[in-house]
Subunit: 414 residues, 2 copies
Amino acid sequence: MINPHYGNIPPSYLFSEVAARVSAYQDAHPDERVLRLGIGDVTRPLAPAVVDALHDAVAEQASGESFRGYGPEQGYAFLRDAIVAGEYAPIGTAIAADEIFVGDGSKTDTAGVQELFAADATIAVSDPVYPVYVDSNALAGRLGEFVDGRWEQLTYLECTAENGYVPALPEAPVDLVYLCSPNNPTGTSLSRADLERWVAWARENNAIILFDVAYRAFVTDPTVPRSIYEIEGADEVAIEFGSFSKTAGFTGLRCSWTVVPKALTRDGASLHAMWSRRHATKFNGTPYIVQRGAEAVYSEAGREQVQADIDYYLRNAGLIRDALRGAGIDTVGGVDSPYVWFRCPAGLDSWAFFDVLLNEAQVVGTPGVGFGPAGEDHFRLSAFGTYEDTLEAVARISSLVPTLHSTTLIRSES
Amino acid sequence: MINPHYGNIPPSYLFSEVAARVSAYQDAHPDERVLRLGIGDVTRPLAPAVVDALHDAVAEQASGESFRGYGPEQGYAFLRDAIVAGEYAPIGTAIAADEIFVGDGSKTDTAGVQELFAADATIAVSDPVYPVYVDSNALAGRLGEFVDGRWEQLTYLECTAENGYVPALPEAPVDLVYLCSPNNPTGTSLSRADLERWVAWARENNAIILFDVAYRAFVTDPTVPRSIYEIEGADEVAIEFGSFSKTAGFTGLRCSWTVVPKALTRDGASLHAMWSRRHATKFNGTPYIVQRGAEAVYSEAGREQVQADIDYYLRNAGLIRDALRGAGIDTVGGVDSPYVWFRCPAGLDSWAFFDVLLNEAQVVGTPGVGFGPAGEDHFRLSAFGTYEDTLEAVARISSLVPTLHSTTLIRSES
């Protein structure tokens, strides 16, 4: 009677394992100051415009005249309109407000979208990848068995230094491809030419692209697309996932959106109608007060405040990138992205480097192997700490890395 | 590539259809004052203690020192502890804080729980029933085809006047049974003897009971169980769903809990570990500020304020019950429950009565057939309106019902 696929999945979720190791270290060394550049959680407080909107909305909920109970499961019109005006109209895409579905987080949305597809739908992901895409399909039984760190029925599109961290098109047809740009974990972005290639491929192969733009606010390069709908014809082949988590520090407040264009149909079914049905059946909407907070991100004050936080994190990203490069490590990301990605120094594998970094420098990062087999021997550092902590962390890393090189040298000579 | 089961399910969700008909009526009759005793949404504003806690938590999120980002996916310890102390310890059950999982609503939780079970798990529901239990399994493909208003592979446990609205034990074994007490939509409760019978049956048959106590705060009769865990041995056979929506007016704020006891195992798997895994993989937690609001429900002031709202709604329930009985209609519910349930007068079916009530009395109720085949010819009225609206609505109903009787009489004589 039990879903057998829960038994196939490795027992510990990446970030839970990171948290457990950090907690064990901190318990054993209560006086050490551990700096966290691991889990991609923000540290800047909510923007004042968002805080004001939240207080106002709470006050509305305190009075019988202005109280709001159940809202529309797909989101309030005021927020769907604000997302279109703030995110899609400025980049010239024709997404309509009723193609936006407000959710409680991109984790929920990207984990849930697979329910719209058949049990035998075939899946490809870029590798390394945000684990939720993979795990949600594994729990639904689409990926077969997990053997030697790989799912038997999953197509891995390797992103390595050799291909500039740009996933190649699948060699055999698949139904669904998850892409994320700017990418978590590599911090790299897909160019317009890359996306045109993907959209053309999806159109030819009747595939659907599940496109995650959680980090779109970090794009500063005007040539880098912020939405897949900047590519003509994408509305017939793509679902897009956006989030307020990293843009506006909503990791604890929880708000996201999904775009399902009405033009997207398969097997005679409207994906828009299906996703709407799923929302109505399985979800009762994002809290009203949170939707008011999200709306305030698009006010004039909100935009400026949120942009200042993005700039703050991008400055951190620059510090991390420069320090690693200064220590002789090749990096990608950290431009148009809060993440910096690199091969672990001194031939260490990613959990070994995690432990060295934690034990020797008291810095927490994220082991690349947690993001997939191509992440083995790689590592992710996040720019979401405070400026002061990031400065201190890069100083410690800059001191540590040369000792790792020399240790390796001594080892290999002995 | 598409999930074929979306195509099997009737196109419109009950409450969406109600909303559409009301909206069409209101558009055509903009001057009529429509009174809503339909969708079970609350109207009392949030309790002052909850409002204060929300403001305080928003203020915390406005400062870098007290800001909280991602929380534990299973919920903050402060709220899990408060739920145990406020809900489970007082009734003598041994539920531990780490058996409580905080969610964003019982709709999400009850719709999601089926994912823990195999694709061929067999299901029984009481009939009439909250549609989410059925629809979530239909979308997952467990119920076969929908033919003549019934799912081919679903066991319906009829609750009618004949059996006192108490579901009979299934005649053939099933894996999962959804029960709700106090019941939505009938307003009836299962007694201790009823629940003992169910727990014994589940233990004998290796079945799991999915027990919804969203309305437990309305129980005034001290002999009626408020939790299935009041029955010995239930922790090995039951998952329980609780909600702040109706207890504390959280329909727009969104907070709930699920109890998965560690003693509950099947096929060698721990349901507790599976649900914890699902939360970690597919959910990023209920907003911090909302969890602080929920915690405040259990403060001394919060308890008193929330109880006053429950009493307010129970007074409405009494008005509705008395008016219907005064008009010669047999009712159940309305005691220990905000819902009153009855057979439609004058031989009308439930959508016909819905339309008559809307068009002739401008009162919105919920057609019983929307809750399942045994709801045909039945109707639900909700006590969640304001006292003034409820008074006015029952006056209109008291005037309308006798005219329906005489119309029927004239028709049958002609």
